[in-house]
Subunit: 91 residues, 2 copies
């Protein structure tokens, strides 16, 4: 699977990411990975639900993985943990 | 599985829910369900990650499901959709 089929969820409005997913599927993608960290995790779930319930009913959630990443603050040795989610959609 | 092994994630500090999960497992539960809606979804993932990485390394994520619930505002016919997550932990 090429990495170009990933959508990284940030702070933009949910519909921006919904559109990104739909564009990938309409471009022929069979699989799209939705990734998010921290507070954006809820938005990632919103994106998936809107894509499959409102726009592309033939898209399925194949896999959901959660994890933890260590973030290092610049110029310091302190690191903090942030939760991550990765949702794989297939058509 | 009895419903008493569910932890519903709300707006309290993350550690409150972490403690609730640990208490259930220490009380003999083999399975604990973590549920959250809307903005609390990110917090649910934080709870799971803290439980299994910091406190109970023998706990595994067995299943993650996401979905949508319809909420009806009181005294109105309008309804809005809210995303949900349910994470099943087993020991």
């Amino acid at each position: 699977m090429s990495e170009s089929n990933s959508v990284l969820i940030g702070r933009k409005p949910v519909m921006n990411y919904v559109l990104a997913c739909i564009t990938l599927f309409h471009g022929g993608a069979k699989e799209v990975n939705i990734k998010a960290r921290g507070r954006a995790i809820s938005r990632a779930v919103d994106v998936v639900e809107i894509v499959r319930r409102r726009f592309l009913p033939d898209v399925n959630v194949q896999e959901i993985n959660i994890g933890t990443e260590q973030l290092k603050a610049e110029g310091s040795n302190a690191s903090s943990n942030i939760s991550t989610i990765e949702i794989t959609l297939t058509r």
